[in-house]
Symmetry: D3
Subunit: 226 residues, 6 copies
């Protein structure tokens, strides 16, 4: 696959149109949003008034460009501890999605890369593998792991709110495109949330949670300190 990405046909392909660096912000996710009450309501991200979702731009300022987004065309920068990058096309990045109840993201995974266990608090995820081969797993609330190796062209689904992960199992890069049934997708990434929050979760909570000594907790926290 690395071969493909470097060969002559690559320029025709969108994945590497540019190697723009994407800030690693773990925040894909979604839900069944309130129904739209008009044809569209393009988000005014700078409104002084904040509501459930976003206020709309005046209709007179809406044009065709509000319904197209270029953010998914750029490969994310995977030079980080997880060797992965999440690029969100949610309402914050693509204001035309406001009130429409859908969003997308792309996940780039370097060889060996992982999108560690996380959940989307308010939506289901359906994804397609575009490049490579990944292990996708989710755990039900009854503690049953459901997992599949998903190859390019195949589709997977993660039920709303369940913890799941994506691991690159191939020899080259991997790329997935996922959709979420909420415009305001976010992710709760387990290691960041438990060991890298501000302020930090008390060690007493974490030692009791994982049944380990405080030194183990401190060691993990040191890797996720921000």
């Amino acid at each position: 696959m690395a071969t493909l990405l470097n060969n002559a046909s690559a320029p025709y392909f969108f994945l590497i149109l540019s190697l723009t660096t994407i800030i690693l912000s773990f925040s894909p996710s979604h839900s069944s949003d309130p129904d739209p009450l008009q044809d569209f309501c393009v988000a005014d991200l700078n409104s002084a008034i904040l509501v459930n979702g976003f206020p709309c731009k005046p209709a007179s300022k809406v044009n065709s460009k509000d319904f197209i987004s270029y953010v998914l065309a750029k490969e994310g920068n995977t030079s980080n501890v997880f060797k992965s990058a999440i690029t969100n096309a949610n309402v914050q990045a693509f204001p035309g999605l406001n009130t429409l109840g859908i969003s997308m993201n792309r996940v780039d995974l370097a060889p060996g890369g992982i999108f560690p266990p996380h959940s989307h608090p308010r939506s289901t995820e359906a994804g397609v593998v575009i490049i490579g081969e990944v292990l996708v797993g989710f755990v039900s609330s009854s503690n049953v792991l459901y997992s599949n190796v998903v190859k390019a062209g195949d589709m997977f689904v993660i039920p709303r709110g369940l913890v799941h992960f994506i691991l690159n199992k191939g020899h080259g890069k991997a790329l997935t495109i996922s959709a979420f049934n909420s415009q305001g997708q976010v992710s709760s990434v387990v290691p960041n949330i438990l060991f890298g929050s501000k302020p930090t979760i008390p060690n007493e909570v974490l030692t009791k949670t994982f049944q380990v000594s405080e030194s183990v907790i401190k060691s993990i926290k040191s890797k996720f300190a921000s």
Copy 2:
């Protein structure tokens, strides 16, 4: 692009894993479905009881394979009047989507191909162009056309229920992957609905609708008769 599809790197790419023929059934689409009431409810497509959506398979028969689908990996057969093919990954094709409020489809367009004006009665569509370059347009209920040329890697959105079309504007094949915020996506394709329904719509309705003579209506009907 045709070059890419025929060259040596193609086998790595999912689009042409096989050139299986897909029956041209115009039926992508969607909505904000009722929320799920359990982790999952894999559809029992053969249940004797029919409900809003589908009944569930017993949990004891659910396994990891219920959450993966291979239908999007196959290129559709575009040998038809519209030179396009729609392949649905909705709950009928991917039962694991049941109750989860999301689905996908792929649209293959031969050079010059079109997915003619249609609407999804119950959902918004968000799509990504994977190969090629298409003209995507929708018309608001105020009769304003919003359209964009969308290139590989870029994303578009079609608000719920609005009439829209996709036209291949490139020199080679085009491929889009779209997501819908309803598991049971269907399409109402304008020419088929108006001129190819069973039974047919009375000519009086159509002549008055389009302000044309009956001979024009009969001529169009002859092309969509089934």
Copy 3:
């Protein structure tokens, strides 16, 4: 029926209280809106802030008159190409409907008049024929036409988002009153959307859609140019 409308008992009847001209704006329709979060939220149609739906007037300015509307009492002007008139009592016309998830319209049809094929992007329609006799038909996404001749006093239903039409089949005027499960009902009227949009849909799209020559498309467009 024309007799009834002109006879002495007519003054008791609301249909012709006045022959006010209603601008022909094709825009009935709707959906399952977000639930209300307070007893009522009368729309402030002039708010500087736009949201999904409308902001509310201050409670101190709400009085009984906010919950009554007179717009449906006026017969519409059917002097137009379709010999029909649509009068909406949606939230724009009746601000008290805001957040309440319901609206109405009236459709007046002169003899031979039609409300041409259209869809309501976000709601189901249930209607009652008040005067006359109409042919009501809708086409499912499987291209099956369901139609009935509906007489005064009888009720029909059009599932959400499906294309449908109403044709006056009687010798006199016809009148229907419909309800929609969304306060912000609008209509996407097929001939206007396809042939009368601003900007216009490219002829290439329409010739491929209807499999006709460009001259036919130009001819139809000339009748819907605005």
Copy 4:
């Protein structure tokens, strides 16, 4: 108005197509139902399985007649204590409404008749007066009464779940047609619920509620005993 109903033009009008007696069952009402997951799901009222709403008839048994109803054409029998009659066109009476989130009713009021204070537990009501002149009032949860005299052709709205009443204020019969944003509309009629339930509400509850003696309670109960 009684004159109109008996005069020569009446046969053209649906209200008295037949003077069929309608059993006085106080049960109009509504809500924002779960969204439909298919084009339609005509209720199977005799299914052995009961679900939220109703299971669907097989698609092969659905035809055009499932989408029309004749129940609203018949005038109700107002020979009862309230001099009024409610005729419901909800999913039980019109199975084609199932999953579609809308229903209707008609209220016939003899001179002096009343539809006493009641609420619709799960929906908003929007109504049109077809004949006569009525006083429509509802009380907010803050105990404010909003009321209007509504004449033929005019429209009113009752926010979801609020207690309201309709009183015939004219000299003749009155008729209203209302719509509800739920297919399974029902009514909770205050006098019947408080004084005519089975089993009866303990007198202690009612004397404390209305701050009256037990004899007053017993007297009222005697009028609503069933």
Copy 5:
């Protein structure tokens, strides 16, 4: 139970942390609200803009204290005609609940006290008896009374929108804690709504409703005049 409340261990118990007087405002209640579109949206109760629900405080002003409320800790003042007190922890009292679709209340009942028949226009209620023993009853829209004596530790449920009451059946005080599936819970209390509204409901409506003489109506009204 009164003993418990007066004994030495009582100070450890929250019920009487303070005997603050709570204004008797009958307004608990609820519904299935629109889904949240972000992690949280703490209500800005003083916003100049009013929407369905409340606008949000800026995220920069949100802190941990927004997610805790002390209002339920205070016993209500039951020195009133019903010998009961309702203390609401809805979004107006606890702004952190905004957009989250849940709220609570506490009902204090002196010996013999009653929370008279009322309904929550937009939500279901689930409650737990904390102290004492109460009779909880609701009446279905088919006029069937369902009632139970509910003791400390036991739970009851009242379906959305149905009329219900709570009567203290024990010898001491009673306390219930209820939850509602709407952040903006309110109550429509039957005696207050029918006999204490502003303006008042016409006597004609009430005499016809309860089939009593005007003097009985006037007598009841005199007790609920505000």
Copy 6:
């Protein structure tokens, strides 16, 4: 507080009516469920047909006892690694909650006990502390920890889908009663899901997730093996 639980007045109090052992099943949780379509639909837990939620018992078999539950009256058995017990009153335990969109649970915490980090995939939680003093914390998807010490009588809220924990900070037992805006509440408990699932999550996933050696992962897994 331990004093209260052991003293003479305790028998009057529900918390220790009996020290029944409750199986430690971590599964509280919730969401905004589809609206009810009838007054009630008491779950038939043994139906051969499975749907989104549960089918209903026939109305003829429903009686008052369907709307009361005794499960919350029993203290849970906290003799386990977390020194805590969760007792659910969701639709599985209290079938009358079916379709009504609400449920409850009780959490018993021995001194030092914890309900470890978990999320409710489909609902918001609002809770009241009945006995004791607990630390309640949740982490937003932006990795911000919001936490409060919550004392008896006080209320807290946890936004839908976010990871949170409850730690007993007092010297005696603690008890909380929580409500959820979904009838089918479940919990995804982080340590159980990540280290105790069946089958287990591959060590490669967990070492990369927490940036620790495989021996640490194996050690934690050994404590959660089932």
